[in-house]
């Protein structure tokens, strides 16, 4: 640790008290530093203490926290500051970017005004000076048409745009350290990439240290210089991004890495168990109970923090385990190829959905003529960036939204023109699992009653109903002990299992998943995906899996449809699409997906602009963003056979 650190954290421990009077050791003796211009990644599961470190540095710890150690910013010890000094510290030294940028911005003030407030307050600028500086900052963070955006309110901006504003706000403080707490969680791959590169740019230009917090090591690895792995309030490994990804030494680091599904067909490998909630600093390896190579010695004492190579530290007594020998690296099971299915369960024909604007005429086209079909036993992946109509399509299939045009046939009956009572009888065959696991359960009902809700449709006897609930709870890996819990007592992963159990309870013919894992930690996601994989392997139930995570889709789905601005631009067998993408949009999506192997593809497709600024023209919807756009692209495009396996809506393909 040299004297030039942007921030130096030395032996930081934080203890909290829970409402019930219990104690939680949130952090136990954490030491690290961030140098100016360096990006340090901080990874680990929720509850590991990641946010606690960020809060400690920003001096925003919850009341009642007991802190020891030292956080040095230059010569100042942050833990010894007075209230007033802290305000100054927050304004000038440490800036925080939150996970949900829109809610972190004041909703009633224009974003430019919020930015100028900071400049005037902390940089001592005059109003016109601040205006110019704000404009420059907006340009710096890649906001197009910054003059107009300065006058926008947060609700008028997309999620990615809000995060850019948030970064501009943070940079306005000219911070020595920039803290970003899950800045890209919830954003799709193309945006994530853009936003992360902003941090790299900021670190270089402003020579500030960046602490990037994420639960997904794969997502942030690309921009990080070093990565710290946190587990149950202690560091278990630290090293360069390459070392952590390519040769992780701690089993937990390896588990984190392997939990992320990869585009190269490597299935996600779940690690069992959950992080322990420690009441006092650990006196043994806290990961031992979930570790496959742990033995009695691991439970005796906390392994020492040893330097394996220069600056590559690990806290494990068996760092040299030969993982390759141990691994039974499972490739995703081969999903049955669609082939010539004789019977379809779902047929969408030319679906168009218009969201009417509240006042007067006009509206927004969410879907512009989508046709799809699905056979029993098939899993169809629907991918695309946020805002392309994925969720709308899922809701049309569920009969929750009536399309303005087109037909949706379920087992040969059109559900779009069905009366509500008739539609209800169809629900037995049609279930959905939502993105927000806890929010999709009724908070006033126990797990049991939540699951029983759709079961009422079957008119079962009380005994039979009881048995069904037990069965499905068992199927999703939860015991009967969960029956009497209320949703707020469940973790995200458990809640999603309950939601899945509810969908399974009526034994439907089709289940629609709307981004079921995007709100979950990677390790929990891996567990849920593992569960889904096992479910999908048996029976002839059909699944529709909506996601912006291509790797997940590749792992689960037999067929894929790529949606862009309400149109299907490419569809076909998963293999064909992932191995040989034809449409420029599909190729761009695949490029931006984080890959652990980081193999560079020969020809890279980079799309221009954020999605919300691309105007859907008459012709190819991708026209304003496509690097290959030519005159012919302004003609309407229809799906055509790209090669013998899949269909593409691009005239350049196959002509």
């Amino acid at each position: 640790m040299n004297g030039a650190s942007a921030i130096e954290v030395d032996d930081l421990s934080i203890g909290l008290r829970t409402r019930g009077g219990g104690a939680v050791a949130a952090l136990s003796g954490v030491s690290f530093d961030v140098r100016p211009g360096e990006i340090v990644g901080l990874v680990g599961e929720s509850g590991g203490g990641k946010s606690m470190i960020a809060r400690a540095i920003a001096a925003m710890l919850p009341s009642g926290a007991e802190v020891s150690g030292r956080i040095a910013l230059g010569d100042v010890d942050l833990l010894a500051l007075s209230e007033k000094q802290i305000r100054f510290h927050r304004g000038t030294d440490a800036a925080l970017c939150f996970q949900n940028p829109r809610s972190a911005l004041s909703p009633t003030r224009r974003v430019g005004q919020q930015l100028m407030d900071r400049l005037v307050r902390w940089q001592g600028m005059e109003q016109d000076e601040a205006q110019a500086a704000a404009l420059a900052l907006f340009q710096e963070v890649g906001i197009r048409d910054p003059r107009r955006r300065l006058r926008a309110f947060p609700h008028e901006l997309s999620g990615g745009m809000c995060q850019r504003v948030m970064i501009a706000l943070a940079l306005a403080c000219r911070p020595k350290i920039l803290l970003a707490d899950e800045p890209t969680t919830g954003l799709d791959a193309t945006l994530t990439r853009d936003i992360l590169s902003l941090f790299r740019k900021a670190a270089q230009q402003h020579q500030c240290g960046v602490l990037l917090i994420s639960h997904d090591v794969a997502a942030i690895a690309e921009v990080c210089d070093r990565i710290l792995v946190l587990y149950a309030g202690i560091f278990v490994e630290a090293g360069t991004a390459e070392e952590i990804l390519d040769s992780p030494q701690h089993p937990y680091t390896k588990a984190l890495r392997d939990a992320v599904p990869d585009l190269d067909r490597r299935a996600s490998v779940p690690v069992g168990g959950t992080m322990p909630r420690l009441e006092k600093p650990p006196d043994a390896c806290p990961f031992a109970d979930r570790c496959t190579i742990a033995d009695a010695e691991c439970r005796k004492a906390l392994p020492p923090w040893t330097e394996r190579q220069a600056n590559h530290f690990v806290r494990c007594i068996r760092p040299d385990t030969d993982w390759v020998a141990l691994a039974d690296v499972g490739h995703a099971p081969e999903r049955s190829a669609p082939g010539a299915a004789t019977r379809t369960i779902l047929d969408l024909e030319d679906i168009e959905v218009v969201y009417k604007s509240r006042f007067g005429r006009g509206g927004q086209l969410a879907l512009r003529g989508v046709s799809l079909s699905l056979s029993p036993g098939e899993t169809l992946g629907i991918v695309g960036e946020s805002g392309c109509g994925k969720s709308t399509l899922a809701r049309v299939i569920m009969g929750l939204i009536s399309p303005t045009r087109g037909r949706a046939m379920l087992n040969g009956t059109d559900i779009t023109r069905m009366s509500r009572p008739n539609l209800r009888t169809l629900r037995k065959n049609l279930q959905m699992v939502f993105q927000d696991p806890v929010g999709s359960l009724n908070p006033r009902m126990t797990v049991e009653r939540n699951i029983a809700d759709p079961l009422k449709m079957l008119n079962l006897s009380a005994v039979e109903m009881d048995r069904r609930i037990d069965d499905v709870l068992h199927d999703v890996g939860l015991g009967s002990a969960f029956r009497d819990l209320y949703p707020r007592r469940l973790s995200g992963g458990q809640a999603q299992r309950v939601a899945l159990a509810r969908a399974l309870s009526v034994d439907p013919k089709l289940i629609v998943f709307d981004e079921p894992t995007s709100a979950l930690d990677v390790t929990v996601q891996a567990q849920i995906l593992d569960l889904l994989r096992r479910l999908m392997a048996k029976g002839d139930r059909a699944y529709v899996f909506v996601s912006h995570d291509l790797a997940t889709v590749r792992n689960l789905c037999s067929r894929v449809a790529v949606l862009y601005l309400g149109r299907i631009v490419e569809s076909g067998p998963a293999e064909a699409i992932f191995d040989n993408p034809l449409h420029p949009y599909t190729r761009a999506l695949l490029e931006s997906a984080p890959s652990l192997t980081r193999a560079t593809r020969a020809e890279s497709v980079v799309l221009a602009r954020d999605l919300d600024e691309a105007s859907p023209a008459e012709g190819c919807p991708l026209l304003p963003r496509c690097p290959f756009a030519q005159g012919e692209c302004s003609e309407p495009q229809s799906l055509r056979r790209g090669n013998n396996t899949h269909e593409v809506a691009c005239w350049k393909v196959g002509s």
Partner: protein, 291 residues
């Protein structure tokens, strides 16, 4: 981690780590105190005949306006009626009217509010404009007008007070339902094959009730004050009925002459009961905010 996010509002940053009792701990003594006081008042009202030697409208011709003493522990009023007995019996009316008026307002208000919130459209528009009209009048003036129109009598008083409180519940319930309607679990309920009615009473109603339960006790206190106010002005319980507001009014003239007991005792009773309701309401409020 969830608990952390919730406490950020109180987050303080210095080494003198500041502690505050969690809200749920504050709520307990508030609710306990309020409920015990109310229980005492309630029991006193129920067992009023056993606790007093005199009936509420019995006249002791030997004692007009006597000061509190052995025969009449709280003294008598200008008609020779025993104040202690009248206070106990008045509790029946005051508690009864307040509770049933608020119960009426909660039931009718939440039912209408829930329905129009769920149906939306022009039904909602019209209902909300009607509640606007009702709420545009000062509540007490409105109660005065309504009870003057329908005449006094306990049932009419209850209806009048219920009527002026109902719009608040319509408004709250409607807002809650409209916010809840957009939540994912309602979409999930739709997928589970619930009918609209089932969604309303199984999924929306139970989740919308909390704020109503928080303000209902506070409203009981106000209802009691409104009733007393109406009686004070002669529009409530007619003489010689025992009611705290009417007793305060009747005794007001005597207070000037130094005979304080005629008004002070009913005033204190009213004060204690309203306080008890407010304590319970505050307790519920603290608890709901802590959740």
């Amino acid at each position: 981690m969830i608990t952390l996010a919730r406490t950020t509002g109180l987050a303080r940053a210095s080494n003198a780590w500041h502690r505050r009792k969690p809200r749920s701990e504050i709520s307990k003594p508030l609710i306990a105190t309020g409920t015990s006081i109310l229980a005492l008042v309630f029991l006193a009202a129920v067992f009023a005949p056993l606790l007093s030697a005199w009936g509420p409208e019995d006249i002791d011709f030997a004692a007009f306006l006597v000061a509190p003493g052995p025969g009449h522990i709280m003294g008598t009023d200008g008609n020779g009626m025993d104040i202690w007995s009248r206070i106990l019996h008045a509790g029946r009316i005051d508690l009864g009217v307040a509770l049933s008026a608020v119960a009426l307002a909660v039931c009718v208000g939440s039912l209408i509010g829930g329905l129009v919130g769920y149906i939306g459209g022009w039904v909602d528009e019209i209902t909300m404009r009607l509640t606007d009209i009702v709420q545009a009048f000062p509540a007490f003036i409105l109660a005065l007008t309504v009870s003057a129109m329908f005449g006094s009598g306990l049932i009419n008083l209850t209806l009048a007070i219920g009527f002026i409180f109902a719009p608040a519940y319509i408004r709250i319930m409607r807002g809650e339902i409209r916010a809840l309607r957009e939540r994912t679990f309602i979409e999930a309920a739709e997928c589970s094959g619930n009918t609209r009615l089932q969604i309303l009473y199984r999924h929306l109603f139970p989740n919308a009730l909390t704020p109503l339960l928080v303000i209902a006790p506070l409203n009981c206190g106000w209802a009691m004050l409104t009733l007393a106010g109406l009686s004070f002005l002669g529009l409530g319980v007619p003489v010689p009925g025992a009611e705290w507001g009417a007793m305060i009014s009747a005794g007001a003239a005597d207070v000037v002459g130094g005979r304080w007991w005629t008004s002070i005792y009913p005033g204190v009773s009213l004060f204690i009961s309203v306080l008890a309701f407010n304590l319970i309401g505050e307790g519920f409020l603290e608890r709901s905010e802590a959740m």
